[in-house]
Assembly symmetry: C2
Homo-oligomer: 527 residues x 2
């Protein structure tokens, strides 16, 4: 057995991981339910896979990133690794279940990457992904793809990011086609594609340098690529590309452009075409995409120099705390700036077939980066509200007691009142002391931001009554000292008051500054 | 990079793990929310810790079971292991957060044990635990302990297990005291205790044999232990023990008995004393318990010979499929029978102090074994309902189209109708084919047990109308063919019909046999 040495522990979580608790955990749970509700609205089935897979399942799926996979130790038996994403386990599940030939599935779970962490920007070694994917062999082109993008907009609308996000889209076949047209040798297409993908962080000059100096591309070919990849737009860009005879003569590019035309039409029907930016520099790193690709960016995603959004500034401050920032310094090359995309995905028609040649099921899907969404949402809440008073739990009622000389503490009575509240579905707590002091009980209620106190006194109890007090009422409010309520009607009374409070019917014109904020309500207001 | 060989994969999940999907995943999610709601009602704060911990954090906490811990491979950097339970990470978190001195926290997450799996009984290598713990230094005795047991009853009541479970309780101090009183040598107390703990599976004769033959205990001492550990009861047992002068003269036993008296009093106030069985054979394996201990058993927990409950029989059948069972065979010694306890816990006052001598925070908590609860609930549902029709997702409406010669498929109209349903919060789906066939659309709706179809036809649409049809209505029902509804009032109409259906106002006296069952409703009815 290992030694029990009392002081030999390093009290920390492993590098790149963290504990989630209190208001942060509550806010993140709210984000999870918002996303899950959208997924369910679109008919998603929940899938839960093991946190580790046989190592051979993951092998050969992630290109260079395979070195970031966490392996389990060989303790005799199977060789396993922690999952790197949720897409490969989904493809493995599809290959294992040949009776499932079309499915919409969602999966919210942690994934693992042995990467250099940057915690303040939501870049961690253990982090959550929320995935929605549609698999099906006999669908007509771009219909499911359009629904996935509709889902993306619903998630961000439901999160309250109205107008604060853009979905960049592109198509692997257009990219492959334009590289061919420009004269990129076949064996350089992938590496040139990944250079192009850096255009959201680097200038064209830097990217060109990488192509020509590092990757040996002909300068004229690079210049020809430039005429395409710096372009972004909507239907206008598509129409202009469709008149480009060199491009449309290429079969791959033509197929991609036709898909894109269909997509824009369907997104019109879904009413979300204004959220889309057709961005020819978007390439995405993963090997397995075969068609449409997309990435959602928001104010905090881009390098801070490209935006004056407060999010970006806040995030930037927190990650560069002790560094003097030169406003003229070009930091677009600074990897410490920007949280990156908040959601991304695309079509991957060949991945399932890698597991089982008989199971060629085309798929399209999206993955939401909840930790990044959390960072941005929290920064926004901190600007807009008093973040110090955020709650850790959602208790409605604190049951307390007071009395003069000979005060017994009324423990059993507090327990009985709590019991009746719990059994009526009301969230309640009480002090675990036999004779708690009144100020300590009030402090506990205030610290947790609990909206109501039920106060037990011996005289009132003898008359079958207790006092119900709404916490944080301003001086002079007629109910500042609470109201007496019959014990028999207590749960009904509390339920009515909670409903009234939730609907905001009784909200004071201006909340007094010392009133603890109600996170659940704030989140509702903000999201 | 690993080879991409197409046929070299073993398509399976690692040993002792499984995928969760479809109706099983939905039922398990329902169980999770039931449990989480109880935890929140009692003021629980959500805590989420990393799936792996520094190995030294786990070392020396689990006694002999430490060999079951999964280790991560040393890939350079820190040495980590997968968590074995949620209690040690909670204690580590408490020790790391010295400002938190009293807290109620809950945690639903997977834990990992390299044990011999027995999947059909919910014994797996990766499985969920749902934990609620109360930590606090200055609480009065047994108040928090009582609330934890109250929580246990609320969880099983809310799961619909009315009267089908028993909470066995005992106290480590009583056990330690009685072993002293009976003359067990100090160095044998732990091993004798673990022998006693097997009395739920073995006969006294077998346990005595283990004590005397294997563990070298004096036979007379064993016999003296027997006079205590075979006893179970309630207040009667407590009162009889309190008159046992030998026992009450032992300081440890006396302290335990006093706690137990207080506990029974408080549980009376919480109205749950009838769910408790004071069982002197309960010892619990883990090292870290220091006071009250408990374990929840149900019909499937015990060896099947001890009960004729259909659960136990069903579970037994599934685990012994191919074995002829001899009805006279004593299988109480057969470890393949019974799912074991469905929840367990106790008081552990010294665990946090093992991480930080300054942080001596007493704790008490409980852990629910969701996979076992799932197995039992599912077996019950399969007996009580048509399990074949259980749903995989919760879609409310399938939007379909039909038409005669020259039918265009009405794809864009189906998309627009879906859009308006989604934006009204209604769960809806449609076919991804441009020109889907009507029978295929009906089949998709039926297979998924979707309650309503919205049917688009060109003529009706021209008149601004669509047909709303409730699925599975019996022949002769006035609305069997659906009703025409204005497109403008479609979402309102659907919402009203969904509410009506949920409230059961329109339920036919006898559901037609071919109507797909609604799991959500079934779960609600059963839980």
């Amino acid at each position: 057995m290992a030694p029990k040495g009392k002081n030999s522990f390093t009290l920390k979580t492993p590098k790149g991981t963290k504990d989630w608790s209190g208001p942060d955990a509550l806010l993140r749970d709210n984000i999870f339910s918002t996303i899950t509700n959208v997924f369910k609205r679109h008919g998603g089935m929940a899938l839960d896979t093991p946190v580790f897979e046989l190592r051979e399942i993951l092998a050969g799926k992630y290109g260079e990133d395979s070195k970031l996979i966490y392996d389990l130790q060989d303790q005799g038996g199977e060789i396993c690794s922690l999952r790197y994403d949720l897409t490969v386990p989904f493809a493995r599940w599809l290959a294992m279940n040949p009776d499932v030939r079309n499915i919409k599935r969602y999966h919210l779970a942690k994934v693992y990457r042995r990467d250099q962490p940057a915690m303040t920007k939501g870049r961690m070694r253990e982090f959550y992904q929320c995935d929605f994917d549609i698999a099906g062999a006999k669908f007509d082109p771009m219909v499911a793809d359009s629904e996935v993008l509709k889902i993306v907009t619903e998630v961000f609308e439901d999160l309250g990011w109205k107008g604060k996000y853009t979905i960049k889209v592109n198509h692997r076949k257009i990219l492959d086609g334009l590289f061919e047209v420009c004269g990129v040798p076949q064996d350089k297409i992938r590496t040139i594609s990944s250079a192009v993908d850096k255009l959201d962080k680097l200038t064209w000059e830097d990217v060109r340098k990488e192509m020509v100096d590092e990757k040996g591309l002909d300068g004229a070919v690079a210049d020809s690529i430039q005429t395409y990849v710096v372009r972004k737009g909507g239907r206008d860009l598509l129409e202009s590309l469709l008149t480009d005879e060199k491009l449309t003569a290429n079969a791959s590019a033509k197929a991609g452009l036709d898909d894109m035309a269909l997509l824009l039409e369907y997104l019109e029907d879904f009413g979300v075409v204004d959220k889309i930016s057709f961005d020819m520099s978007l390439a995405r790193g993963l090997d397995y995409y075969t068609g449409l690709i997309y990435e959602v960016i928001t104010e905090g995603s881009a390098p801070a120099t490209a935006t004056s959004a407060p999010e970006a500034q806040a995030l930037q401050r927190s990650s560069k705390k002790d560094k003097k920032v030169d406003p003229d310094e070009d930091r677009s090359n600074d990897p410490s700036v920007g949280v990156g995309s908040v959601a991304a995905g695309g079509r991957y028609d060949d991945l399932v077939g890698m597991f089982s040649p008989k199971a060629q099921i085309p798929c399209v899907g999206v993955s939401f980066g909840v930790d990044r969404i959390f960072s941005i949402t929290k920064a926004r809440m901190q600007r807009e509200s008093n973040a110090n008073a955020l709650r850790s739990s959602e208790v409605d009622v604190y049951v307390m007691a007071f009395g003069g000389k000979g005060f017994t503490g009324l423990l059993k009575e507090r327990m009985q009142i709590c019991r009746s509240l719990w059994e009526a579905g009301i969230k309640a707590e009480f002090s675990y002391k036999v004779k708690p002091k009144l100020p300590a009980q009030f402090k506990a209620a205030e610290t947790n931001g609990i909206p109501f106190a039920v106060i037990l006194g011996e005289d009132e109890l003898a008359a079958g009554q207790v006092r119900v007090k709404e916490m944080g009422l301003p001086d002079g409010h007629p109910e500042k000292e609470g109201v007496l309520v019959d014990v028999d009607s207590l749960t009904t009374e509390i339920k009515q008051r909670l409903e009234k409070k939730a609907s905001g019917a009784d909200a004071p014109a201006e909340a007094p500054v010392d009133e603890p904020a109600d996170l659940a309500q704030k989140v509702k207001d903000l999201l």
